[in-house]
């Protein structure tokens, strides 16, 4: 096995995938979250402003989904194949909803008819909520473990096996987290009446998040196997949920001080800590098997060859600064409050 800085390649790639997924959650978190609030804005103009707040950015943010998926395929093909084929129905729904969501952004403001806009508004809001929910559901399934038998193949399931109570809880929590993130982002991009309404909505969102998160955490500690053991093994890891709580607790304070950028950073930190917690709980497993732990998909039995991982780590080292440069340029160009003009949606 080859090492870099004392860390083996599959672990490094695990970190890369983790970073990409965090980036996806943070950036598309505010995109999906902003969309989830859509029907809570009453005026047509408010809805247009909300869409145009993510207008120039969402395509770029989506890159994290594409690269994240690619990184999983490239580095852990077994994980990619097993997870996607076992979670067939939720992923197909997720993909179709993504198409509907993109269409809503593109076509909503293209016509003036009331029925047209109303249809797209509902499509947009519902698809954003369901996309966030399904992402959480898949994560919940991964934490609970799959019916993986010999040869890393999936044994379980009929149509709706993916909707276990726990997965639903993680799904709802994800919606709440994204909605919090989305509201903060919109606060950053709006002014006037809409801004005031968002301040009000954010409070509701935070309560929604805290309630769903508490219920889910309790359920995790009591019913999901192995979680408490992992904490006992490594007591230091208990810092992660505490950090996540501290970070989210800081958000209302910053919002009341009108420091929205900082608030966004802290709610993003919450997401990263929670994902780190999941990663820490799982490592080195990627997909726990409920049939027998020896059938679990791990970063070692799922990984590509050392040679291939080495090539891809090189690609990442070259690509990351480039990507960071593009993002900096894009975000700087569209810094500040939304201004509608003839190019807007």
């Amino acid at each position: 096995m080859e090492y870099f800085l004392g860390i083996d390649y599959p672990t490094l790639w695990f970190l890369v995938v983790g970073l990409l997924f965090s980036g996806y959650a943070i950036l598309e978190g505010f995109d999906y979250g902003a969309g989830a609030w859509h029907l809570f804005f009453r005026k047509d103009l408010s809805r247009r402003i909300a869409i145009n707040a993510i207008g120039p950015l969402w395509d770029a943010n989506q890159v994290f989904l594409v690269i994240g998926g690619g990184a999983l395929f490239a580095g852990f093909p077994v994980m990619y194949a097993t997870m996607l084929s076992s979670m067939y129905v939720p992923f197909m729904l997720f993909l179709v909803l993504l198409v509907l969501r993109s269409s809503a952004i593109k076509f909503r403001s293209a016509e003036k008819m009331l029925w047209w806009r109303k249809t797209w508004d509902i499509t947009y809001s519902v698809s954003n909520i369901l996309i966030s929910f399904l992402l959480g559901v898949v994560l919940g399934n991964v934490i609970e473990g799959f019916e993986i038998g010999e040869n890393l193949s999936f044994k379980g399931g009929v149509f709706f096996h993916f909707l276990s109570p726990y997965a639903v809880m993680v799904g709802i929590t994800t919606v709440a987290l994204f909605m919090t993130q989305g509201a903060i982002f919109l606060l950053l991009k709006t002014e006037g009446r809409l801004h005031a309404r968002l301040t009000f909505l954010l409070k509701k969102g935070m309560i929604f998040f805290i309630v769903s998160f508490s219920v889910m955490s309790l359920y995790t500690l009591i019913f999901v196997e192995g979680v408490t053991e992992k904490f006992k093994e490594q007591p230091i890891s208990f810092a992660l949920p505490i950090l996540a709580l501290l970070a989210i607790a800081n958000v209302p304070r910053l919002v009341s001080k009108k420091k929205y950028m900082n608030a966004l950073v802290f709610s993003s930190l919450t997401m990263s800590f929670l994902l780190m917690l999941v990663a820490f709980q799982l490592y080195p497993v990627l997909l726990p098997s409920n049939i027998d732990p020896k059938y679990s998909v791990t970063i070692y039995n799922a990984a590509s060859s050392q040679k291939s991982l080495g090539i891809m780590l090189t690609i990442v080292c070259i690509g990351t600064p480039l990507l960071a440069g593009y993002f900096l340029f894009l975000y700087r160009t569209f810094n500040g409050k939304v201004e509608l003009d003839d190019t807007s949606y």
Binding site: G70, F73, P77, A81, S85, V99, S304, L330, T343
Partner: protein, 451 residues
């Protein structure tokens, strides 16, 4: 129906639908780079109007291309899990490179391209246009590299046996530059250029026929015609080179393309025809020994036919491969004739006098689209029964754990959503084209004062 057939139908449908859009965006992107470049160079407002107009059509096309493209990335895992495990080590790095180098470039600059007119200087905007165009070209590179590796694997070795068998990369550059990738990348690029350029030609020919936007349409038509003529002609070269590669690397595919069954005999070249797989006969108009001549420059040189391969190692749908291949060639030839004749009239100074020719251009937008589709059909069906040529069969590659009901469910979902999407695409393109580049009540220079 069984899972394999459903998985294949779903993949074919989603990829064929997806492939309407990216080639269009690449082609329109190329024309936009020319328009905006001319604008920066000449500062002529006409070119600014043209750039802005095509940007609107580009935005719709590009958006649908991205939305339907993400589905493709995940469909490998959902429906072709065995295949994904088998090729992940190789295919994955191409996909990852696509995401990082190409998709990142195009998506980040897209925001500035679409919404940046009033925020950045014209030069920076032009750079963004180039960024998006290059990004879409690079995307094509990595995707075609991955597909070419399936056609002509190189730079790998097979590790493990049975279920655990998979291909692992041994030489990255040999994998990237596998025997068919360069020819096919160029061929695909050119097909994409033609798809976009012919849309530009079609729209402006339509305006010229209707007598609307005459001045700027003439300008746009000439730029597009110049590109179309050069690309149609050079397409012939990359096509020929690609066919020579098929002869060496995938002889069964070549034999299917011309319906050549005999184990070793001089092969004919058909203008058109119909293959009867039962009797192994082709009925049609042919040049005897023509294929032998194309390949070996000798009418009597034998070519390996389909019967030289075991029954289960040669394409099953010979007639389909034959037809798709011949439709592509015929369209390619027609486009060469059309663009050369139009260029000749341009040189004579009578290009815009011939209404009937402009009308042909209005409808010719469909031809490169059809050629792109059937070309891929021929390439992919000609590769059968292999999913990775010579190593893994399509019948072994699909997800065993997914039931046919699940695929039926997703297939119906795709059919419904994609039909709506296609109608929306046609509707909004049509609306923007009918509306035109600027309000006709005022002349373009007048119009621009208000922008």
């Amino acid at each position: 129906m069984d899972t394999e057939i459903l998985a294949r139908i779903q993949f074919a449908f989603t990829i064929a639908f997806h492939y309407i859009y990216p080639p269009l965006s690449i082609g329109i992107g190329l024309v936009m780079v020319f328009f905006e470049g001319m604008y920066l160079k000449t500062r002529h407002k006409h070119y600014e109007v043209l750039t802005r107009f095509w940007l609107k059509l580009f935005a719709i096309t590009f958006g649908i291309g991205v939305a339907t493209g993400i589905i493709m990335e995940f469909e490998f895992g959902t429906n072709w899990s065995v295949y994904s495990r088998y090729v992940g080590d190789i295919f994955g790095s191409a996909l990852a490179a696509e995401g990082l180098f190409a998709f990142g470039l195009e998506s980040a600059f897209l925001g500035v391209l679409l919404f940046g007119w009033n925020r950045v200087s014209p030069k920076v905007h032009f750079i963004s246009t180039i960024g998006v165009f290059l990004g879409s070209m690079f995307s094509a590179v990595w995707i075609v590299v991955a597909n070419s590796w399936q056609q002509t694997p190189a730079g790998y070795h097979i590790v493990g046996e049975g279920f655990d068998a998979r291909a692992e990369v041994t030489d990255f550059w040999a994998m990237v530059f596998n025997p068919s990738s360069v020819d096919r990348i160029i061929h695909v690029w050119q097909g994409a250029f033609l798809a976009g350029v012919f849309l530009v030609l079609s729209v402006h020919a339509y305006y010229l026929v209707k007598g609307r936007y005459v001045e700027i349409s003439k300008k746009a038509f000439k730029v597009a015609l110049a590109i179309a003529t050069i690309v149609s002609l050079t397409q012939l070269i990359s096509g020929h080179s690609s066919a020579e590669g098929v002869t060496v690397n995938q002889p069964a595919k070549l034999a299917a393309m011309e319906g050549h069954y005999e184990k070793s005999a001089p092969a004919d070249l058909y203008l058109f025809g119909w293959v009867n797989d039962e009797t192994q006969q082709v009925t049609g108009v042919k040049l005897p020994g023509g294929l032998s001549f194309m390949v070996h420059q000798d009418f009597d040189e034998p070519i390996t036919g389909l019967n030289a391969f075991p029954e289960d190692e040669r394409p099953g749908q010979v007639n389909a491969v034959f037809q798709f291949y011949h439709i592509m060639i015929s369209i390619g030839m027609f486009l060469i004739g059309l663009t050369l004749y139009a260029s000749f009239l341009w040189w004579r100074g009578t290009l815009f006098d011939k209404k009937w020719l402009l009308k042909i251009f209005v409808f010719s937008v469909l031809l490169p689209q059809i050629a792109n589709q059937v070309g891929w059909f021929a390439a992919e069906m000609g590769r059968q029964p292999w999913i990775v040529y010579g190593h893994l069969k399509t019948s072994e590659g699909f997800s065993q754990e997914v039931s046919s009901n699940q695929i039926l469910f997703s297939l119906i979902l795709f059919l419904v959503v994609y039909s709506i999407l296609f109608l929306l695409f046609i509707y909004s393109m049509n609306k923007k084209i009918k509306h035109g580049p600027y309000s006709e009540a005022e002349n373009p220079d007048e119009f621009l004062k208000h922008v």
